[in-house]
């Protein structure tokens, strides 16, 4: 199987705005809060559950 060469491969590429926003501090601070909330929801959903105890 061939080696896929990045320079010749047609893939979705980020535009200038996307690249800028990825390191734009005010936007990234907002993303930081939102991602943390998203992860907290995930963690809350994923901590196992108690089943009915053996009588």
């Amino acid at each position: 199987m061939k080696i896929y060469e990045a320079k010749n491969y047609l893939a979705a590429r980020p535009n200038r705005t996307t690249l800028f926003l990825r390191s734009f501090l005010p936007w990234q601070m907002i993303r930081f809060i939102l991602i943390n909330i998203r992860m907290t929801v995930m963690i809350a959903k994923s901590h196992g559950r108690q089943v009915e105890k053996e009588k």
Binding site: I3, K7, Q28, K45, S46, G48, K53
Partner: protein, 480 residues
């Protein structure tokens, strides 16, 4: 009662801390581990590119256990007698790492949390111990990798072009995410050191598609489209100028070349100057005996040496795999013995298993490290607490990977101002195509994005989890 935990990695350490926190002091919590140091393995990536030192990701474990009232044996477990032997109490046989002496530890409950054996021997020439490739699986490996990278960069600064290969060293590897993190940290580091133009970087993976990560890939809702992780991963590889080879099983490696086979059956060789290839995992060698002294290891462990638990191990085709196949309580055939983290035997892969035209199996093994490992540790600890307190044999807590989600942050560059990471959540880990037709996972809770904030989160998690592992005040507030 005495609860012995074999292994002090993420799952075993979590189980030990939770048991000690929730059980009264009349019960003993005992940890057996051959390692003196505790290692926050996810940050080994940063050690491997020289951005962290070994002391940033490790600490001595015995003082933590002493402070917590956990009995610690620095020793290697070799045999388990979960029913005891000839009417004796259950016990495990261990070998001290300092004196090589064998001795027994009596117990009532056993938690197998040994983690993996790094099976470098599966591919001739693989690994830093007598092989030709680097690794970041342990902190010692990562330190060596960083030193090898420094030498390479010096040569590049003198004008030499180099080929760097990162990925999986065998068709049955897991933890492709770690290789993904390392390659983008490496690419970032070479840019930072001003030698990126001298490097050809190649990702060599057993995944059939980029973005598979051993979980069959993800589908994400973004911009009005349901987008596969393949599209996003390819975008990042193209953006960073990293080439890739898919569906590869490495047959052998010598000092300058590696020979690999891909899913189309073709065998090729690749010349390299630096390679960081992950090994496949097997279970840590252990033997289990019943009460009459009969070795029942072949019934307790699967062919890979992982311990069978309450999963459905019936051999099925991919089309017939079900979320219900996955274990819930991690209890073994012996009601007082559990296996968690990498030590438990998964019922099958998550990604679709593939074979090359020559019949070589090239299939990512299911990842079960990090967050799921720690949750399993907590779940089993909570069950044991209830079992001890009620004298029951029935576990009271469940955490199937088909019900659990995971939050993953894959680093793609170490810098507080210019770094980045891919922040992902997926729910559930094991896809459920009945519940989520066509996509397998919740589109609300399966997300991913790349940005600087991901690096901040990764760094925050590094400090938070080390704080928690050191059992510092209010450690239990930090979730797994």
């Amino acid at each position: 009662m005495k609860i012995v935990i074999i292994g002090a990695g993420i799952s075993g350490h979590t189980a030990a801390l939770v048991l000690r926190q929730k059980l009264s002091k009349e019960h003993d919590v005992i940890v057996v581990s051959p390692n003196k140091m505790w290692n926050w393995i996810p940050s080994n990536i940063w050690v491997g590119v020289g951005q962290m030192s070994s002391s940033d990701v490790t600490f001595e474990i015995a003082p933590i256990y002493k402070k917590q009232g956990i009995i610690f044996h620095q020793a290697k477990c070799t045999e388990i007698y979960p029913e005891g032997l000839n009417q004796s109490k259950p016990f495990i046989k261990v070998q001290s790492t300092s004196s090589d002496q064998f001795y027994d530890i009596e117990c009532d409950y056993i938690v197998n949390a040994t983690g993996p054996k790094l099976n470098f021997a599966a591919t001739p020439g693989l690994g830093p111990h007598g092989g030709h490739t680097q690794s970041v699986c342990t902190v010692e490996h990562a330190v060596k990798t960083s030193a090898a990278l420094d030498i390479l960069v010096e040569e590049m600064k003198r004008g030499h072009n180099k080929t760097l290969v990162v990925g999986t060293g065998h068709g049955m590897c897991t933890c492709e995410g770690a290789a993904f993190e390392y390659i983008f940290n490496l690419e970032f580091e070479l840019r930072r050191r001003g030698v990126r133009d001298k490097a050809r970087i190649i990702f060599l993976t057993n995944e059939a598609e980029l973005g598979d990560f051993g979980v069959g890939g993800l589908n994400l809702e973004m911009g009005g489209f349901i987008t596969p992780s393949k599209t996003l991963a390819e975008s990042l590889f193209v953006e960073r100028g990293v080439d890739w080879i898919l569906g590869a099983h490495v047959h052998k490696i010598d000092e300058k070349t590696l020979e690999y086979e891909t899913l189309d059956g073709e065998r090729s060789t690749l010349s390299y100057d630096f390679a960081m290839l992950l090994p496949p995992f097997t279970g840590v060698p252990l033997k289990v005996f019943d009460q009459s002294g009969v070795d029942v290891s072949t019934q307790i462990f699967n062919a890979g040496g992982f311990m069978k638990v309450d999963a459905d191990y019936t051999v099925k085709t991919y089309e017939n795999w079900l979320p219900e196949d996955w274990p819930k309580t991690y209890q073994t055939r012996f009601k007082n013995m559990f296996a968690i983290g990498i030590a438990f035997a998964p019922p099958h892969q998550i990604s679709k298993p593939m074979k090359s035209k020559n019949g070589t199996v090239i299939a990512p093994a299911p990842p079960r490290t990090g967050m799921p490992s720690a949750i399993m540790g907590r779940t089993v600890a909570q069950s044991i607490v209830d079992m001890v307190n009620t004298d029951s044999k029935q576990p009271t807590y469940q955490s199937s990977m088909a019900d659990l989600g995971a939050a993953c942050v894959a680093s793609a560059g170490f810098s507080m101002l210019n770094g980045s990471a891919v922040s992902m959540t997926m729910y559930p880990i094991v896809p459920d195509f009945k519940k989520y037709p066509g996509v397998g996972r919740s589109l609300t809770h399966t997300t991913g994005e790349i940005g600087l904030s991901g690096h901040w989160i990764k760094k925050l998690l590094h400090y938070a989890f080390i704080y928690k592992a050191k059992a510092l005040p209010f450690w239990w507030i930090i979730p797994e």
